[in-house]
């Protein structure tokens, strides 16, 4: 009988093309919005997670300063004690669960070769930076293994820097100027793109002691600790804090695990996704009211037909079924069209912006279709009940 109801509803819907099209359109827009917006939100979340995991999720960062004592973001404002190379060496001596413990100092400087010059981010670090940040060297080699406190005048440059400073030439072995410093290019990084918001193809990496002297800094920007397994993260953090507290006579460093950063970003973006879903839901509600309106008009128009069906033996339940099926179909067709349009839109978006892996989560697709059906059912109930309650004689006489 359901198939018959669908057939019957289809004949009614196709009899009023414009009205049907408009209310289908309303639902389609709502569903397309939900699909596209959740895809965007989810895409952003995936993008951030991907960015963080690309450098390893068993990485922790040690920053000078402590949130509680300074009242500001760690690494900003008055820092009681510097994070020094001595601290780094102490950590290396004591933390055995760590695979690499890497110093990082940072600054921006003008790098030039002949007439060509470019503003770049300069990172001072140690040879282990390569493994800790999962980078690769395309030409030459990375920073030499030597005493971290001694800085050699050597640099490893990113692909873009190499291309810009040495167009059509070999960069390896050439001397560049970084600010007032002359450095020999000993390696060129393989193309990697953006990592944690830093364009790694546009950086210059120098030995950490050189970096600190170059920027006249006594403190490291941070120390990266890569542990062997993510389960060691928390204990490594505790150890770092304990060792540095003992060395500084107070707890003045902050230890952030990659896991915590990912989960913070992930939850922020998850919230964003829900906000987008809510916006979509509003447009769906409007569409639902549209469906209800159309169905009320339909019931009013087909009063005589309802009376006839009752005279021919249709029960109240049958009439309710006929109009509910019609409302659900109206919303369902809108849902399918909306889904296709939404997916098409997402496809276009990822084609234009390949960096954002926007794809609607499966639950959103299933929910969108289910939602459309429930929408039709919910907003169809009032008109369908009105139809079912009609008195057959009154309905036949259109009174």
């Amino acid at each position: 009988m359901l198939l018959d109801f669908i057939h019957f509803a289809w004949s009614a819907l196709s009899g009023h093309r414009l009205r049907t099209t408009l209310s289908v359109l309303g639902v389609a827009v709502g569903i397309a919005a939900v699909v596209a917006l959740t895809a965007l939100g989810e895409g952003a979340r995936q993008y951030v997670i991907q960015e963080f995991t690309s450098i390893g999720s068993n990485l922790l960062s040690v920053l000078p300063g402590k949130t509680e004592t300074t009242g500001a973001m760690p690494g900003m404002g008055g820092v009681p004690n510097d994070l020094t190379l001595q601290d780094l060496l102490a950590l290396r001596r004591h933390i055995h669960s760590a695979q690499y413990i890497v110093p990082v100092s940072m600054g921006t400087e003008t790098v030039s070769h002949g007439e060509r010059r470019r503003q770049v981010a300069v990172i001072g670090s140690s040879p282990e930076f390569l493994q800790a940040r999962e980078l690769r060297v395309a030409q030459g080699h990375f920073l030499p293994a030597s005493d971290v406190e001694r800085g050699a005048p050597v640099a490893v440059i990113g692909q873009t820097v190499a291309r810009e400073l040495f167009p059509g030439q070999q960069a390896l072995g050439q001397v560049i100027r970084i600010g007032e410093w002359r450095m020999r290019v000993i390696g060129v990084l393989a193309e990697i793109g953006t990592q944690l918001g830093v364009k790694m193809d546009e950086v210059v990496i120098v030995p950490v002691a050189t970096g600190m002297k170059m920027f006249n800094r006594s403190s490291l920007f941070r120390i990266l600790v890569k542990v062997r397994s993510p389960k060691d993260l928390d204990s490594a953090c505790d150890q770092v804090i304990a060792i540095l507290t003992e060395r500084h006579d107070e707890e003045d460093v902050t230890c952030i695990t990659q896991k915590a950063v990912i989960s913070t970003f992930s939850s922020i973006l998850q919230t964003l996704t829900w906000v987008l879903v809510a916006i979509g839901a509003i447009s769906l509600t409007v569409a639902g009211i549209g469906v209800m309106n159309v169905m009320l008009v339909t019931v009013a128009e087909r009063t005589e037909e309802i009376g006839l069906l009752r005279a021919l033996g249709a029960t109240r339940g049958n009439i309710l079924g006929v109009f509910l099926v019609e409302a659900v179909m109206l919303a369902g067709i809108g849902g399918i069209i909306g889904l296709l349009v939404g997916l098409g839109g997402v496809h276009l978006l990822t084609w234009w912006y390949p960096a954002v892996p926007a794809s609607p989560p499966i639950w959103a697709i299933v929910a969108a279709l289910g939602l459309a059906m429930i929408l039709g059912g919910t907003f169809g109930v009032v008109p369908a009940r009105r139809a079912a309650k009609l008195d057959p004689i009154m309905a036949l006489q259109r009174r």
């Binding site: 009988m1 198939l3 018959d4 019957f8 004949s11 009614a12 009899g15 005589e304 037909e305 009376g307 006839l308 069906l309 009752r310 005279a311 021919l312 033996g313 249709a314 029960t315 109240r316 339940g317 049958n318 057959p392 004689i393 036949l396």
Partner: protein
């Protein structure tokens, strides 16, 4: 067999009951052909609707094949209408978007008859009213006489025992009206009980019996041939 025992139908208007029917007692045997006549507002259509189980009587008992249907619930009444009663309306009440075939098959949809059987039976019914060549036409592509024949095909599709016709020739020309009456007579000849409400003495006198209603009451009972062809017993 239809037995009406002291049937009354009243409506509340301004707190006062207004009687559309009062104290109707009548027995209609299976296979009978009865015409209900009376002036406008005499309660003819109300009586037909009560007999057709579209309206519940306010008082009295209505026995349909020995079952008191005045106490049945909506679902059971729907079932009764579906399988036992066929309706023919003055204004046809055809679904405009469905073809003649679709309209004839409509009662079977709610009876759960499989689609292939519906198609076959609807075609046969259309053939029996001489419209097999109009099966795929919509109502607006048919003449009024053809529309009423579609309605008759729809009324008999569930093989009911009773056919109720409310002014079946009211919208038709003489020739079409004649064809419809012949169709009704042929159905009666096959054993169906026919009850016709009419204003037309020529239609009424073709029935075996005539019930004359005035002010919601039966005032006279006649045999069909006793009726004059030019005037009604109440005019």
């Amino acid at each position: 067999m239809i037995e009406l025992q002291h049937i009354a139908k009243s409506y509340e208007v301004g707190g006062q009951p207004i009687y559309a029917l009062r104290d109707i007692t009548e027995t209609i045997q299976s296979g009978d052909y009865v015409a209900i006549v009376g002036p406008s507002g005499s309660g003819k259509s109300t009586l037909l609707n009560v007999i057709g189980c579209l309206l519940r009587p306010s008082e009295g008992a209505y026995l349909f094949n020995d079952e008191d249907v005045s106490q049945l619930d909506d679902h059971a009444l729907s079932h009764l209408r579906q399988f036992q009663i066929g309706f023919i309306f003055q204004s046809f009440h055809l679904v405009p978007r469905l073809t003649a075939l679709g309209n004839v098959a409509l009662p079977m949809v709610f009876a759960g008859v499989p689609s292939s059987e519906r198609h076959r039976r609807a075609k046969d019914a259309l053939e029996s009213v001489g419209l097999s060549d109009r099966a795929h036409h919509r109502p607006n592509q048919l003449s009024v006489g053809q529309r009423q024949r579609v309605v008759i095909a729809r009324a008999i599709i569930m093989q009911p025992s009773l056919v109720l016709a409310d002014e079946p020739t009211g919208n038709l020309d003489t020739h079409s009206g004649q064809q419809i009456m012949e169709l009704l007579e042929s159905l009666n000849a096959k054993g169906l009980t026919i009850i016709v409400v009419t204003h037309d003495p020529n239609v009424a006198r073709r029935a075996n019996r005539i019930i004359v209603l005035t002010d919601g009451q039966i005032v006279k009972r006649l045999k069909g041939e006793e009726l004059s062809s030019t005037s009604m017993p109440f005019s």
